[in-house]
């Protein structure tokens, strides 16, 4: 039935195929992490290793009508990280060919 070229039948297959790979994770609160995916569950709780977190901090310019402001980027590294699933917005595996 599912003549899907990528062989994915449900969204979690995308995550399962990314185990032991470096994944990009977009989180709530303007945060992103990149790390090697070791484990996940149905909540999208994640275990990542060798992680770099990127935090975008937007300072709105006072008097500016636009919502544009200066964006500061902070980075930090962690050896091992548990990500609670409800903070996850998007997970992108490495590009498969």
């Amino acid at each position: 039935m599912d003549s899907n070229a990528s062989g994915i039948q449900e969204p979690f297959d995308l995550i399962r195929l990314s185990l032991s790979e470096r994944v990009f994770v977009k989180l709530r609160g303007d945060r992103e992490v990149v790390g090697i995916l070791h484990a996940y569950d149905g909540h999208m709780n994640l275990i990542l290793s060798d992680v770099e977190e990127t935090i975008m901090i937007v300072d709105p310019i006072e008097g500016s009508p636009n919502s544009e402001g200066t964006v500061k980027v902070a980075k930090r590294k962690m050896n091992m990280l548990f990500v609670r699933g409800d903070g996850v917005i998007l997970v992108s595996p490495p590009s498969r060919t």
């Binding site: 994915i8 995308l14 917005i89």
Partner: protein, 98 residues
């Protein structure tokens, strides 16, 4: 035809309510129909993801291919594949004829 009273008289015989529109189908039918098609997924944050819908599940978790992330009308990221956690989804819009 040429009656003058503004409110039309209600029909006395019990007529079944007409279907709302010509295109029939449940939300599930729509979602089944857009699998494999180009879609626009809007998140509650206002960010749009445009790509080909690989599949989705009952939580509305979504797998997209050839995904472009659009913020304020400009492309901010591209992903070969993307898993979107369903709780963030506001709507899924078909971006090509079904």
């Amino acid at each position: 035809m040429d009656e003058d009273s503004p409110p039309p008289p209600p029909p006395n015989e019990a007529s079944p309510p007409p279907p709302p529109v010509a295109v029939s189908g449940s939300p599930t039918d729509f979602l089944k129909g857009v699998v494999g098609k180009r879609v626009i997924v809007r998140l509650t944050s206002g960010v749009d993801y445009r790509g080909i819908l690989s599949c989705l599940d009952g939580y509305m978790n979504i797998a997209l291919e050839q995904t472009e992330e659009h913020v304020n009308g400009s492309v901010t990221n591209r992903y070969g594949d993307a898993f979107i956690r369903g709780n963030n989804v506001l709507y899924i819009s078909a971006a090509e004829p079904l």
